[in-house]
Amino acid sequence: MKIRVALAGNPNVGKSVVFNNLTGGHQHIGNWPGKTIDKAEGTLNYKGNEIYIIDLPGTYSLTAYSVEELIARDYIIQEKPDVVVNIVDASNLERNLYLTLQLSELGANIIIALNKMDLAKKENAKIEVKKLEKILGIPIIPMVAPRKEGMKELTDAIIKYAENPVKREIRYDEKIEKYIDEVRRIIEGKIEGLNPRWAAIKILENDEEIKKKIGKDLLSRCEEVRENMKNEVGDPEVALADARYELIKEICKDVLIKEKKVTASDIIDSVLLDKYLGIPIFISILWMIFQFGFMISAPFCDFLGDGFAQVSSALSGITGIRWLDYLLFGDYGVLNGLGMVLSFVPLIILLYFALSLVEDFGYMARAAFLMDRIMRKLGLSGRAIIPMILGLGCNVPAIYATRTIPDEKDRLVAIVTNPLMLCGARLVFFSAIVGAFWGEMGGDVLLSLYLLGVVLTFIVAIILRKTVFKGKASPFILELPPYQMPVPRVCLRKAWERGKLFFTKAGKVILPGILILGILLITSTSFAYTENAEESIAAVIGKALLPLVKPLGWDWRLLVAALFGIVAKEIVLGASALLYGVSEENIAATMASMYTPLQMYSYLVFILIYVPCIVTIGAIKQEAGTKWAVFTVIYEILLAYLVAWLVLGIGHLMGVA
């Protein structure tokens, strides 16, 4: 039998663990169409049944106020899954049942997976599961998902109830129900595909999405009922929320006994949120994640990059056709390009793995709480600090890390400003140059560039917040879940999937980019193969565009090297060596003989700001859309030009040579 199952529940209830238990390796993570919320789907073959499972976004409710809620409820309404598994946190029963009631209003075929039974026990919360089952009329499967306890019972239940759906209407206080019934009578039969009771409730709650689906005259009659309700019990939205919680309180009186107990979570929280040590702890943990991601992935990244380079040079000459050879196996050839893309993957996987571990533990919420106040003043959301720090290593995983930022505007600001953080690739170029020009002071110069990146990030964020992304700062409401050991296999799986996703998406952008650049470098203006950079089309373009950068004082080679940097910032070093006809070891010294330190500083500033590498552009396109990717490219070029020019100007004014 083919069964469609949707997993629904509050955030932090262990939904992804259940999902992973069910699907194992047979899962795929993508996006909900047109949105940047993760869509995780998978399959399971069990006792001859083909079960398709979709993990809906974690939500506290099913209103129309957030993207996650709309995705979750639209899926249930439109796709009509055979079974909805509502994952409920046993240690947080009251709040979790709120969503259960909403799902029940929808008329979905619900099974409750009562997870974290061990945590409830640890917190001295006793739940009478059988009683609760009877009162709700919904089957309940107790479980401890990380230990796969209860999973078999859950899968059996899914099959059982897919065949024999549970239908049960849970009614609230009559005081409220009478209004629901009234609206229901008005719209009965007039709404396609929607559960009438649910629609009635939504109309009373002033749900914009549902209101759109009713005719004007029906709507006005419903409005009357709503007015009456308002007069009797007050704001209907609040009254309905109240009614649900009242019912929950009644239910819990019978089935839940809770003892006040100080938990390990409480004790740890008083430390992690310590007035003075909280932030140092946060910085330390961030640093550890960073080190783990970049240093531990380094051998794998290097191996892949180098490996492909080895294969490339081994195969070079094999075709016998010079230009084909160059394009396929040359320094800027397809194979090397592939190697370069692949070399990002271990980094993304390890970084995401570490972040996932820390997030699942529950710490990230605390960090957001600690940092939010400070970050707000600087135009960014508290959660944006992590992508910012990651950006110091590489902007690509940093941009993916912005997914945890709930507010759309905040997220876009974080994405668009992220490339301003000095990434590892730019560091390669900078550190090579800095020694030749500034000797001992090189370190300070480098530091100044880092700081410039940070300062610009805040300035641009504040400006964006006041203009393009104008809007009130979204209210900061965040649940701090109890600390729990993360499940490494789940985190690893998530990281792996994301690595795969990156490879397929980024590869599509980078490889063509590299190919084009390679072609430009080796084709002369007479469309013949050439090894002399001066004759290539790239040089022609460089010389043609030269007037644009006249105020900055570059020669065409610096310009072309910068153009090459669009593919990958590491390339700027190698490309400039190629263009000046010297080896990579000597390029810094060569440039030192041609340019003053001020001019070079201005150039470095330009390279810092101008355009993110093509992989990053790809990531921005993926996470924010083409519009914002283009926006980022444009504003950064303009900003880079401006600041580089200012640097020159101020330098001259100050009499710096």
Partner: protein, 74 residues
């Protein structure tokens, strides 16, 4: 009756009113913060951000919201 932002740590409080826009009120309601709810302030940072205990879970509220939620000591 005082804004949550100024409430003392550790005491049990009752929510008496929420002065906020549609979206904010709904989000708070979904989490169980309604007029009449019983809460306890776990931590109060100097700047108005509050960590509170509500229906068995911990919720953090920023300054903006904690100024709009009114409570009284139970």
């Amino acid at each position: 009756m005082i804004p949550l932002a100024f409430a003392p740590e550790g005491k049990i409080l009752r929510v008496v009113g929420i002065r906020g826009g549609r979206g904010v009120m709904q989000r708070l309601a979904d989490l169980g913060l309604l007029p009449g709810s019983i809460i306890r302030v776990v931590k109060s940072t100097g700047g108005g951000a509050i960590l509170l205990e509500l229906r068995g879970s911990k919720i953090a509220l920023g300054r903006g919201i904690s100024m709009k939620v009114f409570v009284e000591v139970k």
